[in-house]
């Protein structure tokens, strides 16, 4: 398997994302270190991270995004608040309202809101990165 980039081969067990981003190994290492902090330091629940990443992928119509809309059963839940913010963040962050932010802060506090927005920036930005470069995501990502 190889990407559209002519000199980039994908090693067994690696992803196209690894191979392409690995063209700049210093940046890739720093990216990995940053991206992983949300999971390894438990800045947010894994369920929230997974759901928001999936919702971001759906909004930008990324390859491999879940077909069924990611949604929360309880509209007053933390998950619902995070998904609402995630969706609007991707569509147009200027339209994120104070009520949307307050709903997240009510569950997570100010630091939690910051963690969520940083995670959304990673999900949104690197989903667009993959889409633009026509590279497949890592397993479990979009």
């Amino acid at each position: 398997m190889s990407t559209w980039l002519p000199d980039v081969a994908v090693a067994d067990g690696a992803s196209e994302f690894d191979a392409v981003f690995g063209l700049r190994p210093d940046l890739f290492d720093a990216y990995r270190d940053f991206e992983s902090v949300f999971w390894t330091q438990r800045l947010l629940d894994v369920e929230i991270l997974d759901a928001c990443r999936a919702r971001c992928a759906q909004v930008v119509r990324a390859e491999g995004a879940p077909l069924e809309p990611v949604a929360a059963d309880d509209p007053s839940s933390l998950l619902a608040a995070c998904l609402a913010l995630a969706e609007q963040f991707v569509i147009d962050p200027h339209c994120v309202t104070a009520e949307m932010r307050d709903a997240v802060v009510a569950h997570l506090g100010d630091a939690g809101l910051v963690a969520l927005v940083e995670a959304l920036a990673v999900f949104d930005g690197f989903t667009r990165f993959r889409t633009l470069l026509e590279i497949a995501p890592e397993p479990g990502a979009f």
Partner: protein, 54 residues
Amino acid sequence: MADDAIANSPLALQPEALQRFLVLYGLLWSHGEVDHTAKEVARLRNARITDCGY
């Protein structure tokens, strides 16, 4: 970092993430294949398209 505006921003509420982000962002600006002028033009264009007030 006390004089850095970012250190007084909401990002500082997540210090571990901020420290790692600054490493990535610093590398992006200080090394690479794309010259600094092109990066700056792209940054400004991005800010204009997204109507960033900063």
